[in-house]
C-alpha cells in the first residue's frame, strides 16, 4: 500500500520535473507568435527562422570557445588541487581548499559583481576572455570535487612500486596515475563544459558586447516575436543533451561495471 503510494508520488514528481520540457516541442511547432494555448497549427518555420539568425551562430561559436576553454582550465586547476589535497599534508590545507570551493556556496551574482568591479577598476576590457575567467572560478569546485574522489581511490602502493622500478615522479604521474584517474578527468571536463554552457549571470555581466548562447537566449526573450524560435532552439538543445547524456551515461556505466564499483548516480 505504502509502496504504491510512494510510486505514484514519484511518478507525479517526474511529471512536474518534465512539464516545462514537454511543452517545448509543442510551442516550437505551433503556428502562432503567442506562446499560449490553444495551439493553432503545425509549422516548422520557427526552426528555419532560428537557423537563419547570424547572431545565434555567433553566440554558439562564443559559447563553444568559452565552454571548452573553461572545461580544460578548470579540470587542470582541479587536478592540481585534488592531487595536492589527497596526497599531501600541508599547513593551511583546510583554508585554501575552503577558498577554492567557496563559489559553490556563493550566489553567482556576488561572484560576478565583485569580479566586474575589480575588472572595471583596473580598466580590463570585457570580452569572452573575462567570461572564461569567471566561469573557471565557478567550475573549478565541481572539478575538484569530482577529481578528489578519483584521486582518493588511488592505491598509494602502485605509485611506490613505480618509484621502486625507477620511474621519475613525472613519468609515474603520466604512466600510472593519469590513466587511473582518466574517468574522473573525463567527467570533470564534461560537467565543467555543461555548467559553463548553461551559465548566464557571469556571461551576461562579464561579457561586455560578446554574447554566449545563454545571453543570446535571454536577449531574445525581450522580443515576444523571437520567442517561438527560442522554443525551436530549446527543442534542439534538449534532444542534443539527451543524446549526449545517454551516451555519457552508457560509457559511465560501462566504466563502473569494468571497475566492479557501485553505481551512485554520477551527477554532483
Amino acid at each position: 500500500m505504502k509502496f504504491s503510494g510512494l510510486r505514484v508520488y514519484a511518478i507525479g514528481y517526474l511529471i512536474f520535473l518534465y512539464a516545462p520540457i514537454l511543452l517545448l516541442p509543442l510551442f516550437a511547432f505551433n503556428d502562432s507568435k503567442v506562446i499560449a494555448f490553444p495551439l493553432s497549427g503545425f509549422t516548422t518555420s520557427w526552426f528555419s527562422q532560428m537557423w537563419a539568425d547570424d547572431n545565434l551562430w555567433n553566440a554558439l561559436k562564443n559559447s563553444v570557445i568559452v565552454s571548452s576553454s573553461v572545461a580544460v582550465l578548470s579540470t587542470a586547476f582541479g587536478v592540481f588541487a585534488a592531487r595536492a589535497t589527497t596526497r599531501y599534508a600541508f599547513p593551511g590545507k583546510g583554508g585554501i581548499l575552503g577558498l577554492i570551493m567557496l563559489p559553490l556556496v556563493l550566489p553567482e551574482m556576488i561572484v560576478a559583481m565583485s569580479l566586474l568591479i575589480v575588472l572595471l577598476a583596473i580598466g580590463f576590457p570585457l570580452s569572452i576572455f573575462t567570461i572564461i575567467l569567471g566561469h573557471v572560478l565557478i567550475c573549478t569546485p565541481f572539478a575538484v570535487a569530482i577529481l578528489s574522489s578519483a584521486f582518493q581511490s588511488l592505491d598509494k602502493s602502485l605509485e611506490e612500486a613505480a618509484y621502486d622500478l625507477g620511474e621519475t615522479p613525472f613519468s609515474t604521474f603520466r604512466l600510472i596515475i593519469f590513466p587511473l584517474v582518466m574517468p574522473g578527468i573525463i567527467s570533470s571536463l564534461l560537467i565543467s563544459f555543461t555548467i559553463s554552457l548553461d551559465e548566464f549571470i557571469i556571461a551576461f555581466f562579464l561579457g561586455g558586447n560578446e554574447t554566449t548562447l545563454s545571453v543570446y537566449i535571454f536577449g531574445q526573450f525581450r522580443f515576444p516575436a523571437k520567442v517561438p524560435s527560442i522554443m525551436a532552439l530549446g527543442t534542439i538543445l534538449v534532444c542534443l543533451s539527451i543524446a549526449l547524456l545517454a551516451t555519457a551515461e552508457y560509457f559511465r556505466r560501462r566504466g563502473i561495471a569494468k571497475a566492479g564499483g557501485k553505481d551512485t548516480g554520477g551527477f554532483l
Binding site: 509502496f3 510512494l6 514519484a10 514528481y13 520535473l17 512539464a19 516545462p20 520540457i21 511543452l23 517545448l24 499560449a36 494555448f37 587542470a76 592540481f80 588541487a81 595536492a84 596526497r87 599531501y88 599534508a89 600541508f90 590545507k93 585554501i96 577558498l99 577554492i100 556556496v105 556563493l106 550566489p107 553567482e108 551574482m109 556576488i110 561572484v111 559583481m113 565583485s114 568591479i117 575589480v118 577598476a121 569567471g134 573557471v136 572560478l137 573549478t140 548553461d198 548566464f200 549571470i201 548562447l213 545563454s214 537566449i217 535571454f218 526573450f221 527560442i230 530549446g234 543533451s241 539527451i242 547524456l245 556505466r253 553505481d263 551512485t264 548516480g265 554520477g266 551527477f267 554532483l268
Partner: protein
C-alpha cells in the same frame, strides 16, 4: 629552517610539495575570488561620489541598507522566497529520494537518477521562461482550468508573482535536493531497519527513529545547497516577475551598474552574504542539537 633532523626535512618537503602543487589553483582563487570579495567589502565602507568613489570611511551604506524601507523589504522578500523554496524543495524531494533508495530495484536506481537529472541539463533560462508559460494569465494551468469550466477568469494567484518564483525555483533546484538525500539514504545500513522492526517498532516509528535521523546529514546538505544560491537568483524575478518584483540580486545589479552607487551595492551584497551565513549557521546549530537529542 627546521632542516636539522631527517624528520624535519621530510615534513618540510611534504608540506612544500603539497603547497607547490596546490599553488596554481590557490593563486587563481586568491586573485579572482578573495581579492574581488575583499574589494567589495572595502567598497561597502567607502562613500559614493559622482562617478567615483570617495575614500572616506563610513558605515552609512550599511545603515542605509538596513534602515531604507525598500532595501529592507527586498532583503526580507529574498530571504522568505529562499526559505520557502528550500522547505518546498526538500519536502517534495525527500519522498522521491526515499522511494528511489528503498523501493527501486538496485539495477533500476541509476535509470531513475538519470531520469531525475535529465531536465536539469537543459537551459536554465528556457526552463524558467516555460514556467511563466505554465503559470501565466493565459498559461497552461489557467487555460486548462478555464476550458474545463472550473474557473471563469484566470487565477492571478499563480502568475508573475512571488508564488510563481517559488514554484519555478523549487523546480530548478530539485536534483540538488534529491541527490544528497539519496546518497545519505543509500549509506544507511539496512540491517538497522530490520533490527528496529525486530525490536517491535512499527515501520513508521522505525522511519522516524532510525531512517530519518540517519538521513539528516543529506537533508542538511540539500537545505544548504538549495538555500544559499536561491537568495541570489537574478533570472527568475527578471523573466517571471518582469522585473517588477525585484529580489536582492536585481537590486545589487541596479546599484552597481545603472544606479552607479557601488558602495551601497557592495554593502547590500555583503549584508546578503552575512544574512545567508547567519541563517545557515543557525540551521546547522539546530540540526546538531536535533541529532544529539535523538542519540
Amino acid at each position: 629552517m627546521a632542516k636539522s633532523t631527517k624528520v624535519g626535512r621530510f615534513r618540510d618537503t611534504e608540506a612544500a610539495s603539497g603547497l607547490a602543487l596546490i599553488s596554481p589553483t590557490a593563486l587563481y582563487a586568491i586573485l579572482l575570488l578573495a581579492a574581488p570579495l575583499a574589494t567589495i567589502i572595502i567598497y561597502s565602507l567607502l562613500t559614493d561620489g559622482e562617478l567615483t568613489i570617495i575614500r572616506d570611511f563610513t558605515f552609512a551604506n550599511y545603515i542605509e541598507t538596513w534602515t531604507n524601507r525598500i532595501y529592507r523589504s527586498i532583503m526580507f522578500r529574498s530571504l522568505s522566497v529562499s526559505i520557502a523554496v528550500t522547505i518546498l524543495t526538500v519536502l517534495l524531494a525527500y519522498p522521491v529520494a526515499y522511494f528511489v533508495s528503498f523501493h527501486v530495484a538496485p539495477d533500476k536506481k541509476s535509470l531513475w537518477l538519470f531520469l531525475i537529472t535529465i531536465p536539469f541539463w537543459t537551459s536554465y533560462l528556457i526552463r524558467v521562461f516555460l514556467w511563466k508559460v505554465i503559470l501565466g494569465y493565459n498559461g497552461v494551468i489557467n487555460s486548462g482550468l478555464m476550458s474545463v469550466g472550473v474557473i471563469d477568469e484566470p487565477l492571478t494567484a499563480i502568475s508573475y508573482n512571488v508564488q510563481a518564483f517559488v514554484v519555478t525555483l523549487a523546480h530548478a533546484y530539485a536534483p540538488f535536493a534529491i541527490l544528497p538525500i539519496f546518497v545519505a539514504l543509500e549509506k544507511i545500513d539496512r540491517s538497522l531497519l530490520e533490527a528496529g522492526q525486530d525490536l517491535g517498532e512499527s515501520k513508521f516509528r522505525t522511519f522516524l527513529r532510525v531512517t530519518l535521523p540517519l538521513s539528516i546529514p543529506g537533508v542538511a546538505a540539500a537545505v544548504l545547497i538549495v538555500f544559499i544560491p536561491t537568495i541570489g537568483d537574478y533570472v527568475t524575478p527578471n523573466l517571471i516577475g518582469g522585473g517588477k518584483i525585484p529580489m536582492i540580486a536585481n537590486v545589487i545589479e541596479k546599484l552597481m551598474l545603472k544606479g552607479d552607487n557601488k558602495p551601497l551595492g557592495s554593502a547590500i551584497a555583503v549584508s546578503a552574504m552575512i544574512v545567508v551565513t547567519l541563517v545557515s549557521l543557525l540551521f546547522l546549530f539546530l540540526i546538531r542539537k536535533y541529532l544529539r537529542a535523538t542519540k
